[in-house]
Symmetry: C2
Subunit: 208 residues, 2 copies
DNA sequence: AGTTCATGTAAAGGGTTTTTACATGGCAAC
DNA sequence: GTTGCCATGTAAAAACCCTTTACATGAACT
């Protein structure tokens, strides 16, 4: 039987792993995290239904790989936005938060795989590592921001980081998805994050 | 063929709809939102694989019904916690936020169906209605809280409500699930929410 | 050239989905 | 009460998906 929509030049695909990830991203984008089957991803990549099993134990392992790629891209985007705190900490911090929202908006398939695929993160250690790395970038930014406060009145970095993470994730999840945001509101996600951080940082006694 | 684990007394089940919802809740709890099939829910309820089609168009419709029940229970829990702002607005507001986290922790199956099932809320109008109702309770609480500020320095209710909703949802989603919270932290969800609201309300210029 | 091994296919068994035809019995109208 | 309606359940069948097993291909190394 011919599984190829467009016949390949060789018997071997060449880069099926990447093709499967791309297929999964396409399918997640259009039908949600759970909206496609392993066989469908294979068809989308132009191979037989059994071929994906050469690269992944099961469908979940494919989604986990997608999530891992997502965390890496996410971490890189946050790092780039932070830009070592230059030109100044306040502006960089704001950019970093915006980068969180932009990633959720512009890479909804990655974001879904990362936070909504329902896969047990404990089962995939490399996933935990990649996720921790992304959160570390956020903590670096918070550390620098907190350091602008006078010594003795600096709030704990971990607490502030978790607050910021939760707000970003909450706004992104509820209001800031690319496609049909679940609970769309008359205020944009960016405005919501900015207004929140304005209030929150004032509450911390930090000037911005 | 006999589909009943324990034989029923009558040919008709009696309350298959409820049995299917209970089955779905059980299965979501143990295997995630996408971790079971329509046929599996039928087996769990002790009926043939075709029986559920008498009550739901497809599997998604069952999950949507579960989510709807969830929103109703959620709304009721928030309302009860708010208790008309008695004995005082500050305490009631705090209780309402805690109720959000407690619901996510104690009813993880409902919470998953509501926020992580990936179903298009626009497809199910009664779902949108139920969700709006829950959010309205939150807005009532915020309205009362904002009213404690001197006239002229009152922040917009919608903005504050969305901030609060986002924080609650972010904390609950990331750190506050009953089972294996995805990104568990050394600070409890309750502490995180309380510390955040302390900072945030101070930033708003509200005394608590 | 020959061997090896990663990568792909074919085929088969079993489960799921969904429809269609049929069976049951609760209930309302007489 | 009896009758007939019809909501609710079952059986069976066709199509598709999952997963494994045995086999085919060809790239890389000697």
């Amino acid at each position: 039987m011919n599984w190829h929509k467009k016949p390949r030049d060789s018997y071997h695909h060449g880069n099926l792993r990447k093709a499967l990830i791309d297929a999964a991203l396409d399918l997640i984008r259009s039908k949600g995290t759970g909206g496609f089957t392993f066989a469908e991803a294979a068809r989308h990549a132009g191979v037989s239904p059994a071929a994906p099993y050469r690269h992944y134990k099961d469908r979940e392992a494919l989604v986990a790989d997608v999530a891992g790629q997502g965390y890496k891209a996410f971490s890189a985007a946050m790092d780039k936005a932070w830009n070592d705190g230059k030109p100044d900490v306040a502006a960089s911090f704001k950019r970093t938060g915006e980068a969180y929202l932009l990633f959720a908006r512009d890479q909804p398939a990655y974001y879904s795989a990362m936070f909504e695929s329902g896969l047990n993160i404990a089962t995939y250690p490399e996933l935990r590592t990649a996720a921790d790395e992304a959160f570390d970038t956020l903590k670096v930014a918070v550390t620098a921001l907190v350091a602008t406060a006078p010594e003795g009145s600096r709030p704990p970095v971990l607490m502030v980081s978790l607050h910021v993470w939760a707000v970003c994730h909450g706004i992104a999840s509820l209001f800031g998805r690319g496609d049909g945001a679940a609970f769309k509101q008359p205020i944009s996600p960016q405005e919501l994050l900015e207004s929140h951080m304005l209030v929150y940082l004032r509450g911390l006694g930090l000037k911005v």
